[in-house]
Symmetry: C2
Subunit: 104 residues, 2 copies
Amino acid sequence: MTAATDLTHPERDAIVLSAVLFALSDPDRLEMVRQLRDGPMDAANCTALDPSIPKSTKSHLMKVLREAGVIRNEPNGRNRTLTLRRSDLDQRFPGLLDSVLDAR
Amino acid sequence: MTAATDLTHPERDAIVLSAVLFALSDPDRLEMVRQLRDGPMDAANCTALDPSIPKSTKSHLMKVLREAGVIRNEPNGRNRTLTLRRSDLDQRFPGLLDSVLDAR
DNA sequence: CCTTCGGTTCCAAAATCTTCGAACGATAGG
DNA sequence: CCTATCGTTCGAAGATTTTGGAACCGAAGG
């Protein structure tokens, strides 16, 4: 049934460089990724640069990151847990994520 | 009159991460950057994935890379020399360029 | 000079992305 | 059950990018 709770994620080997770079090229999306650096978070606590954006907009930002393979978005009770796909990204594109996150 | 030969380039410290990631997120642009990895090239020899694209389109691809601070584009006789701004990028975002170029 | 050879600029059309309200879905709690 | 909460999906409008033809520009060569 592909309920709204089962979102699709690309396999590690299907992650595409261009899509990852594009996903990270937006400041709001990058900010969210930075917040996930130290571990998973509930979506509610993970905010974009402007925390007052509508939820549909925020949902779309998460979607771009998820479809690019940057984050995982899984149901967790009545909210959702976001996880940075660190090891998948590190294996596929060694050094990329760290260099982006370390950039000031 | 700011001749067409004097194109503007951002200072090293003015290079913005988002713009660099965006510029590299296009396969055609990335291909051109890869070709510059081993040294400067004449623009005529540096091609996108599809070598038959119109010259105005190619010029636009180069513009995005240049304005993001990824490449330098300087007049050279009656053509132009493209140079990857490797040291500027390495100083500003250590490891980023290599990790992108090393990605298969 | 005049022409040719790269390449840029201008401009408008097409394609893609972003934004956000409204409707919907699933879960936990009363 | 019923409801409130958190998030996704839909759809349409707005903004940004991409594309490519036509005009233009400077440098080199006859």
